[in-house]
């Protein structure tokens, strides 16, 4: 009984974590690769600062927080559903 509980719990929690992690890693690898392959993109000026600087010192942080907040919402919704399921006799 415990083993079945555990397997379903682990699968649920891990799939949500991996979804957010995978999406984030995609961005975290693609952005360096893009700047490395196409230095001219990094150099494009957006107002007074280059695009690479804008992305790495300003845009990146709100995006990180959005990922974190999105994960908390998803996992808590899933946990609420799970708890209801478990509590039913």
């Amino acid at each position: 009984m415990r083993a079945i509980y555990l397997r379903s719990l682990l699968r649920m929690n891990l799939s949500i974590s991996l979804l957010y992690f995978g999406l984030f890693m995609l961005i975290a690898v693609l952005i360096p690769v893009m700047f490395w392959l196409y230095p001219w993109v990094a150099e494009l000026m957006v107002g007074p600062i280059p695009l690479a600087w804008l992305v790495l010192v300003v845009v990146a942080y709100p995006v990180l927080v959005a990922f974190g907040a999105g994960y908390v919402r998803s996992i808590e919704e899933a946990e609420a559903e799970y708890s209801e399921l478990v509590d039913e006799p």
């Binding site: 150099e43 790495l56 010192v57 908390v72 946990e79 708890s83």
Partner: protein, 575 residues
């Protein structure tokens, strides 16, 4: 300097005042090691961010950015992204498990005292490694402010922190850390805003991102305390100790105690390891070789996966009420740390245009402290004092958190393993002795690391944490099949390989791809540690009775699935 003394004094006094208040509250041993009463997510996130933003974040990022350019922007990004990874895989399960240090987790998850000792040893390596850059930051800052020798600042901060920790332990430190976050944010944010308003990014056609070499904005007098080797990229007229000279392209040696006057508009010469050329400074990769890409991704790996393995950070998640608030704390920390990291670049960019004299002497690490003084007058001196106070706040907060962890590992996990049931009072005294010992070692080693960049030293501490503790935590939390032997071998291999690579880089740096990998080993050692844990586990007998442990970690806080004790498994003492 007067404002510096006043503001640094206020930070130190407030640290001790809040710390002493904490001592009166700290009655039991568990209070002393970790604040037992639950703290709300906002306080907790402030405390974690306060403890996390160290000399590397406050001085190091801007300093290295000023020196080497955009390639350094990967550091703060990885430092912040570490909290996302921690949130996704570790925060809630670890809080529900009830372990408050990594050695506690290792011991509880595998019912093994040997693993407790092994991971306590790794805590010592990471903790001491991370303390070194804090000591270095204290040394260079104190020298800049007072002209005192490097060693004076190291000893001063080392003694202050050791005293605070030996007196107050964790409880005394919790509220101090939250105070330190807001001090640091104020101290980096306000001067940055004023600098942008006063100077702006451009000086005529000179912008930080322009092609070519930076030039002196005015006639500039530079004093050289020691003999300096410069690379002159563009011939310039200078006055050395009152005598006019022409420096032609190529190397120039400036004698010790020389005073050189550079004319307005002259191209800036610099020591060979400084990136002054505009294009290389602006682009996030120093060159187009594939190794610079690999080094950047390896650095991101180390910092993203190392955060969860930092001994002084995980402890703080224990003070959350439950898994839910641990998650909220992680998101809050991510936001607070992210806001802070939006500021250091301002100092590097403005320094490049308005204070290029720092390039010439190679004092790039103090750019944050030097640039606000350009504003001049009382305002410049006040803002200069403010950044100095922020820097001290960074040394004090991170070092005290690290020292608590190192002393805890020494007294509770190592010595405590051999004398398991001793009275509260003995434990406290043991902790105090360990704190003094650990602080002494940090001060001693701190004297030796002056040649190394603050950020590079911190990056190495992250690499060791990522290689040894990240696989232990992630597999220990998510994979029921992980065995004691698997965990032990993987952790040992990750710790030993990464530490060896780093020591080789420190003592005898290599070049080419070997050098790149030895200097940033995480991209190899982290996967290697993971695969060792998995392979050894699959070859050893499956562990029994781990279901209840894992259920406890992964069940929603509200769920009434199998009843578990609410008290942590491994708390040593309860008041």
């Amino acid at each position: 300097v007067t404002w510096s003394v006043v503001l640094v004094g206020i930070v130190v006094a407030a640290t001790f005042a809040i710390g002493l208040y904490g001592v009166r509250l700290a009655r039991t041993t568990s209070d002393f090691f970790v604040a037992t009463r639950a703290v709300g997510p906002i306080w907790n996130a402030s405390a974690i961010a306060g403890e996390y933003l160290s000399a590397a974040s406050f001085l190091g990022i801007a300093g290295l950015l000023f020196k080497e350019g955009a390639a350094v922007l990967w550091y703060p990004l990885g430092y912040a992204a570490g909290y996302l990874v921690l949130l996704l895989f570790v925060a809630a399960p670890l809080r529900r498990f009830g372990a408050y240090t990594i050695p506690d987790f290792a011991a509880g998850r595998f019912s093994s005292q040997a693993l407790r000792i092994q991971s306590a040893l790794v805590v010592l390596v990471i903790g001491w490694f991370y303390l070194l850059p804090q000591m270095k930051g204290a040394g260079v800052t104190f020298r800049l402010l007072t002209g005192a020798p490097y060693a004076a600042g190291v000893v001063l901060v080392g003694v202050l922190v050791t005293l605070a920790v030996a007196m107050g332990g964790m409880k005394g430190v919790t509220y101090v850390q939250a105070f330190h976050y807001w001090t640091k944010l104020l101290a980096i944010g306000v001067p940055a805003g004023v600098l942008l308003a006063v100077f702006g990014l451009a000086n005529g056609s000179q912008t930080p991102f322009a092609d070519g070499l930076p030039t002196f904005p005015d006639r500039t007098e530079v004093a050289f305390p020691s003999e300096t080797h410069l690379e002159v990229a563009e011939a310039i007229e200078v006055t050395v100790d009152g005598v006019s000279e022409t420096w032609v392209e190529g190397p120039v040696t400036v004698p010790a105690r020389a005073i050189v006057v550079f004319e307005e508009g002259s191209a800036v010469p610099a020591p060979a390891d400084v990136t002054v050329d505009g294009i290389s400074w602006t682009l996030p990769f120093p060159d187009s070789s594939v190794w610079s890409l690999v080094a950047a991704i390896s650095l991101l790996t180390a910092t993203m996966f190392g955060t969860m393995g930092l001994p002084h950070i995980l402890v703080r998640f224990y003070t959350n009420r439950d898994g839910r608030s641990a998650r909220r704390t992680a998101v809050g920390t991510l936001a607070l740390v992210g806001v802070f990291y939006m500021f250091p670049w301002v100092y590097a960019a403005i320094g490049r245009v308005w204070d290029p004299g720092l390039y010439v002497t190679g004092d790039t690490e103090v750019v944050v402290l030097a640039v606000p003084r350009l504003i001049g007058g009382g305002a410049g001196s006040f803002l200069g004092g403010l950044v100095a106070a922020g820097a001290f706040s960074a040394f004090l907060s991170t070092s005290s958190g690290l020292l608590v962890s190192v002393a805890g590992a020494l007294s509770h996990d190592l010595v405590g393993s051999f004398i398991p049931t001793s009275p509260d009072k003995t434990r406290l005294n043991l902790f105090r002795v360990a704190a003094v010992l650990a602080g002494g070692v940090a001060v001693g080693l701190g004297m030796l690391v002056r040649p190394f960049e603050i950020n590079v030293l911190v990056g190495w501490a992250f690499a060791i944490a990522a290689s040894a503790f990240c696989p232990l935590l992630i597999l220990g939390i998510w994979w029921p099949r992980l065995t004691k032997s698997g965990a032990a071998w993987g952790m040992a291999l990750g710790a030993i390989l990464s530490t060896t690579a780093i020591l080789i880089t420190m003592i005898a740096p290599q070049t080419g791809w070997v050098g790149a990998l030895l200097a940033q080993p995480a991209i190899v050692t982290v996967p290697l540690a993971f695969s060792t844990m998995i392979l050894v586990s699959l070859r050893t007998r499956p562990p029994r009775n781990v279901e209840s442990l894992l259920l406890k970690m992964h069940s929603p806080d509200t769920a009434v699935t199998p009843p578990f004790p609410t008290r942590p498994l491994t708390t040593p003492v309860d008041g």
